[in-house]
Symmetry: none
Subunit: 166 residues, 4 copies
DNA sequence: GATGAATGAGTCTTCATTCAT
DNA sequence: GATGAATGAAGACTCATTCAT
C-alpha cells in the first residue's frame, strides 16, 4: 500500500530482493520502518532536552522540536501518517513506537503531581500534544510565511488545553 | 488502495463494471466518496443545532455529535482517515469537504468577534477541534467503559485551547 | 513448478490473470489439470471398448489405447508424469483421477473371479499395467521404428505378469 | 526445481555460495546428484550379490535390495523420481546413471542366452524391472503392514513378465 | 444503463547466481 | 577455496479497467 516495494528499495538504495533478506514480508518491513522513524523523531525531540527547566519550557522544547522535525522531514512525516492509519500495523509496533516518548510522559506526570496540569490520563495528554502538533505542522507546511506564528499559536493552544488555568 | 473496487461494488450492491459508468476512475470514485462521507458527517453534526444557545453550548453540541458519529460509524470514519492521508485526494475535494463545516466557522467567527475566542485564523480553530476530536474518538473506541469521560475531557481541552481565559 | 503460469496461460490461449478467475491458486489449477487429463485419457482408453470380448482382448484394447494416447499426446503425457511426482497433488485429486478407471478394475475383478488372473489386489494389477505402459511409451517414443514391436512386447509382459500361467 | 539451492546447501552442510565452486549451475548440480544417487542405489543393489546363484535368485536379490532401498531412503527416492521427469536431465547423465546397472543386464543377457528369459532387448527388461519396482515401492510405502506381501507379489509379477513360461 | 468475464500492467516474493571478504 | 549478503530476473497473484452481451 502507498509505496511499492520497488519504490522503497529504490529509496533505500538497494536492490528489490535485498529488502527480503532483512524482512520476511512487506508488512514486517513497514512495521520496522514505523519504529525506526518513531525513534528518529524521539531523538530529534529529546536531544538538548532542558531537564532542569520549567515544565512549560520543557514542553515548549519538545513541541518546537516536533514540528520542526515534521517540516524538515516531510517524507518520513508523510510515511508516518500513512502507516498510522494502515491496517497492517501491529499492536506490538504501536506500543514500541510509544516507548521512546515515555520521557515526555514523565514530565507530564510530574506536572500533574505539581498541579500544573489538570489530572488527566498521561497518554491522553500526550495524544493531545501529538494531535495538535500534527495539525500545526500541516498549517506550517501550507503557509511557510506564517510558520512561526502557527508554531507559537499551536503551542499556546496546547498549553491552555492541558495546564491548569491561572 | 485499502479497498479494492471489487469490494466497494459489493458493498454498494452493484456489479463491478457499474462503478465505472458513474466514475471514470477509482481516484474519482474515492474523491466522491470523501465528499459524501464529509456531508454525512456535517449532517450529523448540524442536525438539531441549537442556533440560539451560547457559543460554548453550540460547540459542545458539535463536539458531541462529531465524536458520536465517529464511534457509531467506524467504517466511514476509518475510510475518511485513510483518504485524508491518501495522495490522490484533490485540492478541490479537500475544499469541497470543508464547505459543509462553514456554519461552524461562522460560530467561531462570532465568538472571536465577541472576544470569547482568542483571535486566531478560523480554519486553525476548526482544525484544532478536528484534531482533538479524532484523537478523542480513538480513546473512546479503545476504552468504551470510559467513553463518556473522554468525550467530556476532550471537550474541556478544546474549550480551554480556543477560548479566552477567564 | 515445471511450467510457469505465464506458459500455462499462453498454452491455454488466455491472459495470465484469467487463470486466477477460475482457480484461486496455481496448486488448484494444476490439480484440476490433472483430473482433466486423466479424464481425457480414460475416454481415449474406454471408447469402443469391446465389452463382450475375452478378458485378454479387453485388456489388449485398453493397453493399445493407452500407449497410443501417450504417443499422440506427448504434452499431456509429460504433464501427467510431472504432476504425479509433484508435492502439491492432493489425495482427493489422486482419488478422483482413479475413478474413471474403475471400469478397468471391474474387468480385472471378473478375471480374478474366473481364475484368469492371479488373486491380487485390483489396484495393484491396475498399477502394474500403468507402470509397464508408461515404460513402454517411453521406449516407443525413443525408437519410433520399433514402436509396434514394443507395444506388443509390452503387452505380452503385462499379460504374463497378471494372468494365471497355462 | 523442487528444492531451492539454499535448501540443498543447508542439507549438504555448506554455505550457499560453496555449491557454485563445485558446479557452474544448478542444472549441473542436479545432474551430478542424479548420478550420485544412482550409484548409491546400485551399490545397495549389488552388495552381497550372489554371483553363483540361479538367475531367479540373482534377480530376486536385486529386486529385494531395490525396493528396500526405496523404502529406507525416501528422500533420495523421491528426488530420483522428480529428476527423472525433469527437463534438465541430460542424455549423458541418463546414460551414466544406467552404467552401474550393466551388471544386472549381464545377468539378463545370460538368462536370455540360456532361454530362461524371453528374447527381448536387455534395456527393455531392465526398464520393466524398474517400472514394477517403483510401483511396488509405492504400494509398500502406503501400506507398511502388507509391505512384505507386496514385495513378494511384485517380484512374482516381474518374473512372470520376463521369464519363459514352464 | 447494467453486468461480470477477461485483461495485463503492476505488486509482492523467491531463488539461482555473483563477488567482495 | 569457502562464505553469505546482495542482486535482479522471473514467478505467482491482484486489481483497476474494458467491453461484448
Amino acid at each position: 500500500m502507498g509505496a511499492a516495494t520497488a519504490a522503497i528499495s529504490r529509496a533505500a538504495g538497494v536492490a528489490e530482493g535485498t529488502l527480503f533478506t532483512y524482512f520476511k514480508t512487506k508488512d514486517e518491513l513497514v512495521n520496522a520502518l514505523y519504529r525506526e522513524i518513531k525513534l528518529e523523531l524521539a531523538d530529534a525531540m529529546m536531544s538538548d532536552f532542558p531537564r532542569r527547566a520549567s515544565v512549560r519550557e520543557r514542553f515548549q522544547h519538545v513541541w518546537d522540536r516536533y514540528v520542526h522535525w515534521g517540516i524538515t522531514n516531510p517524507v518520513q512525516h508523510k510515511a508516518l501518517q500513512q502507516i498510522m492509519v494502515w491496517d497492517g500495523l501491529t499492536e506490538e509496533s504501536r506500543r514500541a513506537g510509544i516507548t521512546p516518548f515515555l520521557e515526555i510522559e514523565k514530565v507530564a506526570q510530574a506536572a500533574v503531581a505539581e498541579h500544573v496540569f489538570l489530572d488527566r490520563p498521561l497518554d491522553f495528554i500526550a495524544a493531545a500534544m501529538n494531535a495538535l502538533a500534527e495539525m500545526t505542522i500541516e498549517f506550517m507546511r501550507r503557509n511557510p510565511a506564517e510558520a512561526d506564528t502557527y508554531r507559537a499559536s499551536g503551542f499556546e493552544m496546547l498549553w491552555a488545553a492541558i495546564s491548569r488555568k491561572r
